[in-house]
Amino acid sequence: MSENLESVIEKASILLLKGATTIIPPDVKEALIKARDGETNPLAIAQLNAILENCKLAERESKPICQDTGLIIFYVSLGENFPVKGRLKDILRRATVKATSEIPLRPNAVDVMMHKNSGDNTGRYIPWIEWELVPGSDELTVTAFPKGGGSEAPCIAKVLSPSQGLKYAKKLVVDTVAEAGAKPCPPVSIGVGLGGTIDVAMKIAKKALLRPVGVRSNIEVLANLELELLDLVNSLGIGPHGVGGKTTALTVNVDYAHRHPASYAVAVAFNCWAARRSKMKIYPDGSVEFVTHKILNEWWR
């Protein structure tokens, strides 16, 4: 049973990666269409049309949306009663190797010290897995988050002094977006993490990017901050691929952790227009539910 379940997890993870890299999440697609329809700058419309046409071709031909198929990151929520635990890391690693040759993905894992590309998207600590243990649950939830390099370059984390606080946190966000310009492939998605230590701030900024475009924080003060930051960022006028226009960011998603009395950590994380993420649930009986990419449920059967 457990061996069968392991094989189900591996196969489903390959399909999950295929969905993540070849099909734009529906919420992102909708936001891109909305941006195109609300745009008046002809250069920006041309860029958004090219983006949408590319997404259509990629989905139809089952090819990666972008040639940079990312460094492979998984977010795993493991129910404490799910039967497979210790072997999950090996399973996800094997799925990554197989997905790389089957889809195919670009090999993107480079040894920092040896300057050598491993050729199969695995390496030291890679694929990276963010673990969460879910008490009382018997389900496994996996989100594949292939992370491209271009929108990683402008990410920043800084510890401000509490006296600077939110005012300077906002400045860091707008300054970072302005400095990034066209480089992270706008319209971008932006995750902002406040508080914690510097690593915690970046982790929650990244995790905020898992939230679908258009879904605001359920904490009112954060939801308002998200709208304020989105408005500020979009008044910079960078626009799709820097050609100008209304939409520099599709969304700004904010989360926070309690902070140390002496520090005010801020992290700003970017995703390119192709905000790739794909989520599935696996149940102890081996049934699989693809959550973000419903079409994968048809392919799975």
Partner: protein, 200 residues
């Protein structure tokens, strides 16, 4: 204006192009990212020959997704990578190889703009991330060199067919679309954004 050009590009044709113009490119081009730029310059500095005469060709900032079918390489997805990473190499690269068109995304800086003006070359952009669309303009892989650098960093020699639309972002007068953008964005930052969050 819209142009259909073939490589090897002639200086007089390239000098006609202005920022905002659209180009569709056919003929040989190569891909080169950081590592390939570095290798080209090192080989030339030590007096060695390149595997291909790059004079008049286009260099595409791209690390493609490829697969091998029946012994032939196929380009699966091949959008542009961020050109800014190549800024430190590009002026010298253009001067020493004679390439007349750089293709990438996200913009390049003043050294590249100066080289475009002096040498009669242009920097053009393809929509970032539009990798399947880009691959449609890449008819076949002619050869690949330096696979020891890894697939993304290798030098792929490609035959392009109506590869585009490429938008001219730096022309041979030295005009730079992205330098203008930066000025506009900085102005918006100072005048529209900072006052709203309590900065002057």
């Amino acid at each position: 204006m819209e142009y259909h050009l073939n490589t090897p590009l002639k200086e007089k044709d390239v000098r006609k192009l202005r920022i905002g113009d659209i180009v569709y490119l056919s003929g040989l081009m190569i891909t080169a990212r950081d590592a390939a730029h570095n290798r080209v310059l090192k080989l030339l500095a030590s007096g060695e020959k390149l595997p291909l005469d790059l004079n008049g060709l286009a260099v595409y900032h791209c690390g493609p997704v490829v697969r091998k079918l029946n012994g032939e390489w196929e380009i699966v997805a091949a959008g542009p990578t961020t050109s800014a990473r190549m800024e430190s190499y590009e002026a010298e690269f253009m001067e020493k190889t004679g390439v007349r068109m750089i293709i990438g995304k996200g913009g390049m800086g003043s050294r590249t703009a100066e080289a475009c003006k002096r040498l009669g070359a242009v920097y053009t952009i393809f929509t970032g991330g539009a990798a399947v669309l880009a691959a449609r303009g890449m008819k076949r892989v002619v050869d690949v060199k330096w696979l020891d650098l890894g697939v993304p960093e290798a030098m792929w020699i490609i035959e392009a067919e109506n590869f585009g639309p490429l938008m001219v972002a730096i022309d041979s007068t030295g005009a730079n679309f992205y330098a203008d953008l930066k000025r506009r964005v900085d102005k918006n930052l100072m005048e529209k954004v900072y006052p709203k969050i309590g900065f002057k």
